[in-house]
């Protein structure tokens, strides 16, 4: 018991390193927020584009979605960071991580939004169009508000799963939470740094999970 406390909950030992860890926490938080914002926006935009039924565009879109869902996130991250400079595109580690994760999240989000659009009854389109609404008006005022409600639970799961991939940034020296925690652990020779990191990760993702639970309830069809 004493050993467990010493190795995992040794707060006095890591106290001096806490400011550094909080900086890492801030980097992770920022990357997570940007990934969710870009990933979901791009995913929704792609799903909307797909409704217009342009065959060529849709073929390209489906190719992108399938490829980015198939390749591990770390592979995409490493490719973006180490291979793109070969064609003159150099991204700093934080940007590279956000871009890689956003592209992956967008691919999954597109599929989730798209299946949501397909799940809305055909009669909803007909009712909208019969009222004189254009395709776009029907899509944005009638279909998508329903799709977002359907899509919240699966989107939440994906968004959390993929934004946790911010820790992959440590591979390309992003000073995010896990990376900082690992260095602190080496310095003080005590894994409490990782316990602290775990607590901080919970601080990021638990509120997010709770928020989406609230949204699910709030946007559920009124009974």
């Amino acid at each position: 018991m004493e050993k467990i406390l010493y190795y995992f909950f040794n707060w006095p030992l890591i106290a001096p390193h806490l400011p550094a860890m909080l900086k890492g926490f801030a980097v992770t938080l920022q990357m997570a927020a940007l990934t969710i914002a870009f990933g979901l926006t791009l995913g929704l935009a792609l799903a909307v584009l797909r409704t217009y039924g342009n065959k060529l565009l849709n073929a390209a879109l489906i190719f992108y979605v399938d490829v980015f869902r198939a390749i591990p996130q770390l592979v995409i991250l490493v490719l973006i960071f180490f291979a793109l400079p070969g064609v003159g595109i150099v991204l700093d580690p934080v940007t590279a991580t956000v871009v890689a994760l956003s592209l992956v999240l967008a691919a999954f989000a597109e599929e989730i939004f798209w299946s949501g659009i397909a799940a809305v009854a055909r009669g909803q389109w007909e009712a909208g169009r019969c009222g004189g609404l254009t395709f776009n008006q029907t899509l944005f005022s009638i279909i998508l508000p329903q799709v977002v409600r359907i899509a919240i639970p699966p989107l939440t799961n994906r968004a959390i799963g993929i934004t946790k991939g911010t820790t992959l940034g440590s591979v390309i020296a992003v000073p995010e939470l896990l990376n900082v925690a690992s260095s602190v652990q080496s310095t003080i020779a005590n894994p409490t740094a990782l316990t602290a990191a775990a607590v901080l990760f919970c601080l990021i993702f638990l509120p997010f999970v709770r928020l989406t639970r609230w949204m699910e309830g709030h946007y559920a069809p009124k009974r």
Binding site: Q124, E126, A127, G128, C130, G131, L133, Q146
Partner: protein, 243 residues
Amino acid sequence: MDDIVVIQGLRKSFGAQEILKGIDLKVGKGEAVVLVGASGSGKSTCLRCVNRLEEPTEGVITVAGTLVTDKRADLNLVRRNIGMVFQSINLYPHLNALGNVTLALRKVKKLSRADADERGRHHLEQVGLADRMTHFPAQLSGGEAQRVGIARALALEPKVMLFDEPTSALDPELVGEVLTVMRKTKEAGMTMMIVTHEMQFAREVADRVAFLDQGAVLEQGPPAEILDRPKHKRIQEFLSRLH
């Protein structure tokens, strides 16, 4: 009499199967025409061609003087003249009753929210739903929901209303309230095309009954003539099966 809807030589095929085999039908201003016939006879398809929810394969349809079947016709403009009420009701589940009625008023007629709400409330009162404005579709009974559906279509002040089996999905005790609203709509002078199996209603409200059989109008005329003294054996058989 001004004809609001004129259908000439309407044909519609789904793949190799021809559902409508040359329909000719006119609906005059303020007239209520009820389409009856066995299921699969093409009643609903015919109705859905009028606002081009189904694309006619052949034939000419004009509504309020506009050529609906013109390939270059602006469907959004055409459809402003045509209200539609569905068997499946199709209320927008994320909007309350008033929101359902006012959406197109704001997006299509470009009314301000205040004006749209005022008109929406008026039309919901007209269908007896003054106390259901803020209810969501899932909180309404089937009959109430369908009356919202009718108010939603009437609020756009169309030239003709299409009713596609408006009471077929309702519990029997809720049918009457919807038919009452339809009767009032007719009395207010609305031009109506109605697909229904409510023969008593057809008898009372229809100016004309058209009996469709296998994609063609077999016989049409005043309800007393078609429903009580039909010439064709097929109509006699159909009616006897209903009773």
